[in-house]
């Protein structure tokens, strides 16, 4: 059973979003997603300042098996990417909700945050899909 922390919001594409005090959001992939992808060996992150619409492919995570896109869970501009992932992409496997965060975005439409799932809804989605 994969871990689904209560304090995060979730997308149906298995990204998590954490709202920070300054209004920015930290984005990562869920425990379920990292387990399904397998061991990560490379993460390609956007440059600071790049902007995305909700649903745009904004990050590529490459596992031992294959490359997969990570989609922007909300629209916004990239403020920073996790600098630790260059040397240690395995952090996403080991600590998907903490040390393995992917990017920090400044949302352009904070209302989009309300469209994301809470932990209970995401856990239900996983249960229904057999995850």
């Amino acid at each position: 059973m994969s871990e689904v922390p209560d304090n995060l919001k979730y997308s149906s594409e298995h990204e998590w979003v954490r709202l920070e005090d300054d209004g920015s959001v930290v984005v990562g992939i869920t425990d379920h997603a990292q387990a399904a992808l397998g061991e990560l060996v490379y993460v390609e992150v956007p440059e600071a300042g790049q902007t995305f619409n909700k649903g745009d492919a904004c990050i590529v995570v490459e596992s031992v098996k294959a490359a997969s896109d990570v989609y922007a869970p909300v629209s916004g501009a990239c403020q920073a990417a996790n600098p630790a992932l260059g040397d240690a992409p395995e952090l996403v496997n080991q600590s998907p909700y903490e040390g393995g965060w992917l990017v920090r975005l400044q949302p352009s439409d904070p209302a989009e945050l309300d469209e994301l799932m809470d932990a209970e809804a995401y856990a239900r989605l996983l249960a229904e899909s057999g995850g």
Binding site: V41, Y42, E44, E62, V64, A66, A67
Partner: protein
């Protein structure tokens, strides 16, 4: 309906992530493909390869038959207890499969071919046999295990029958020994020392348990793939197939041209292909840049375009490596189209890694990945 090897239950119990591979349910990994890769480079791992197809080739014409069937020449096996790697070709010179052929104690032969090509191989071998005095007998139901790594033989030796142990330890690469229902060859698909062992199901289960108890770590198909890629070994169906010849698969060394009069299947087509001046070649690539090369990506060289046939992350080099088929005149470096970007890669001669040592110069010297 997919098939299971006799070790399936043990693999599930050991935490294997199971995948479908060529009609078989096989372990992809047992938790960490990367750890399994490193353990084979540094110590010892064990792979269940019971899905491989074992075919005994017996009869008065066995040798002349194999001299027709195979691009390599079994006459090079001067004594029983030796094996060689070969392709069997179609009449147009394409690779029907790759295999190892052993000359056995009895003066007859055993060949081991791929699992996914089993049916087409058997049909092809039958058709080439024609009226030859040869019997092809498949040996299903056995267990085939590969113990691989610098410590593999040392750790597995106590688990072999007493009567075979010294002979097995004395084998040189591609040597084999058999007895008491065991067949042991100093071969593998990892670039490391080790044995491939074919044995009955009952003894094979005991061997697996004892090997694991002796600290030989179970490894899955995932690590097998990255190990063979680092070792520069082609994978059938990916780096080579019916549409490619040994000459464009870095396997020209496995074609025995002498004697001239040995008319193996595909010879004429290869002779013609050999005269071409614009032929492609299979090379190794090392990515200069960050990113991961994958099969199917386009390669751009000064001499024309090519394609990545196998690619991924090399756990030993800690960067991406690939096998690619590119124009024969291409040299030194190329670009690989990785999604939207073109990334620079260095062209090298495989293998990348052998016996635990990196054999290629890494671009940019030390790695910062």
């Amino acid at each position: 309906m997919t098939q299971r090897t006799p070790l399936f239950d043990r693999q599930v119990a050991a935490g294997a992530r199971i995948v479908d591979f060529g009609g078989w349910t096989m372990p992809l990994h047992y938790g960490s493909q990367l750890d399994e890769h490193h353990v084979v480079r540094q110590a010892a791992g064990i792979f269940d390869v019971s899905h491989m197809t074992v075919i005994d080739v017996d009869g008065a014409d066995a040798e002349t038959y194999l001299q027709t069937l195979l691009a390599n020449d079994v006459a090079r096996l001067k004594s029983p207890g030796r094996g060689l790697y070969s392709c069997m070709l179609s009449h147009s010179g394409g690779i029907v499969d790759d295999l190892i052929a052993y000359r056995r104690d009895s003066g007859e032969f055993r060949i081991v071919v791929n699992a996914a090509t089993r049916e087409s191989d058997l049909a092809w071998m039958d058709s080439v046999a024609g009226d030859c005095a040869v019997t092809l007998t498949e040996r299903p139901g056995s267990i085939m295990l590969a113990v691989q790594g610098p410590e593999a033989c040392e750790r597995a030796a106590p688990l072999l029958p007493d009567s075979l142990r010294a002979a097995a330890l004395g084998l040189t690469p591609f040597g084999c020994v058999e007895g008491e229902g065991w067949f042991i060859a100093r071969t593998g698909y990892t670039g490391e020392d080790g044995w491939e062992i074919i044995v009955g199901a009952e003894a094979g289960l005991v061997l697996w348990d004892a090997a694991v108890a002796a600290g030989i770590r179970p490894c899955g198909l995932g690590a097998r793939d990255t190990l063979r890629l680092e070792a520069g070994l082609c994978l059938y169906g990916q780096d080579m197939d019916q549409g490619t010849s040994p000459l464009v698969s870095n396997l020209a060394w496995t074609v025995a041209w002498d004697p001239d009069k040995r008319n193996f299947v595909g010879r004429q087509a290869l002779e013609d292909e050999r005269k071409q001046t614009d032929a492609h070649k299979l090379v190794g690539l090392i990515l200069d840049d960050r990113g991961i090369m994958r099969p199917g990506q386009r390669v751009i060289t000064a001499a024309g375009a090519g394609v990545v046939t196998s690619g991924g992350f090399s756990p030993t080099l800690r960067r991406s490596i690939a096998l690619a088929r590119i124009p024969g005149m291409a040299a030194e470096s190329c670009q690989v189209e990785i999604r939207a970007a073109r990334r620079v890669a260095k062209i090298v001669r495989p293998p990348f890694v052998r016996y635990g040592k990196i054999l290629v110069d890494l671009p940019g010297g030390h790695l910062e990945i």
